[in-house]
């Protein structure tokens, strides 16, 4: 993902801002890391460059 996406992304649960943590880059692209809600602290993983912003209870179905 491109970091500009952070300008409009928010936590799907409480709609607060997200912060990028543990980012790994390939050129300008963020290919791995976590998006962390500044309010509730929920962590959303970036898999293969694509942020997974499913609400946590829907994400759990995901085989790790």
């Amino acid at each position: 993902m491109n970091e500009s996406l952070l300008e409009i992304l928010c936590c799907p649960l409480d709609k607060h801002d997200l912060e990028l943590e543990d980012a790994e880059y390939d050129d300008d692209e963020v290919v791995a890391g976590d998006l962390v809600c500044t309010e509730c602290g929920e962590r959303y993983p970036i898999d293969d460059g694509i942020p997974n912003l499913l609400p946590p209870d829907m994400r759990e179905e995901t085989p790790a």
Binding site: M1, N2, S4, L5, E7, I8, L9, C10, C11, P12, L13, K15, D17, D28, E29, Y44, D47, D48, G49, I50, P51, N52, L53, L54, P55, M58, E61, T62
Partner: protein, 226 residues
């Protein structure tokens, strides 16, 4: 079954591309109507292969285009189909959009909206993320008047919302969107075999197939955020 389980399987078996090809017949006419200006941010809900957003980048010079899909394999396929760094994909659910209030200029959705588990709430979410004057282009082939679509529910484990034209207008208004237009866009491109070839595997009569595609086509409802 979850959206993820159902549609990841579609993505890995290539159905994302098959849908793109068929949906394009009518989607392109609806996309051509969208008042997307250079620099605008567009969101494609249930983007599948992501063709719609990429088209708006190419034709209208949209500034940023984001596709959201509940099936990670769909989003990953879509990302693989483009190198454009102004196009991005997100895994997310129609029930809780991960976008800030007023952050999107226009929302597009083709053949996806009716999978929302709470469509009224999804409309409220769309109204929330749209800036004032932004549009929601909602295109569906599965709807009440299109009787030929009713059986689709049998083939899928996710509950589908089957509204009629009026229910779409009412639901948009209930969510605070103005209704700007509603239209049936015929599919004039699909090949309809000659009379002698009916019944086919899918169609009992030629008339039914003609009605499905040339008459009912895709139902488009356009909402505008106040």
């Amino acid at each position: 079954m979850s959206v993820r389980e159902e549609f990841d399987e579609w993505a890995t078996s290539g159905r994302d591309k098959g849908m793109e090809e068929r949906h394009w017949h009518t989607a392109k006419h609806a996309l051509a109507r969208m008042p997307v200006e250079p620099g605008d941010t567009v969101l494609d809900l249930g983007c599948g292969s992501g063709y719609a957003g990429r088209a708006l980048r190419d034709t209208n010079d949209a500034g940023r285009v984001y596709g959201l899909d509940g099936a990670p394999e769909m989003a990953h396929n879509a990302a693989d189909y483009t190198e454009d760094d102004r196009v991005g994909y997100v895994v997310g659910d129609f029930g809780s959009l991960p976008f800030a209030d007023d952050s999107i200029d226009h929302v597009w959705s083709m053949e996806a909206f009716y999978y929302a588990s709470d469509p009224h709430h999804t409309l409220e979410e769309i109204a929330r993320v749209l800036r004032s004057g932004g549009t929601f282009y909602c295109a569906v082939n599965y709807y009440e008047e299109n009787v030929h679509s009713h059986e689709w529910q049998e083939f899928i484990d996710i509950e589908m919302t089957r509204w009629d034209r009026e229910q779409y207008r009412e639901a948009f208004r209930r969510a605070g969107l103005h209704v700007a237009e509603q239209d049936n866009i015929p599919d004039r491109e699909i090949t309809i075999p000659s009379e002698a070839e009916f019944p086919t595997d899918e169609w009992d009569t030629r008339d039914a197939m003609v009605e499905r595609y040339r008459e009912y086509g895709t139902l488009l409802t356009v909402g505008v955020a106040p």
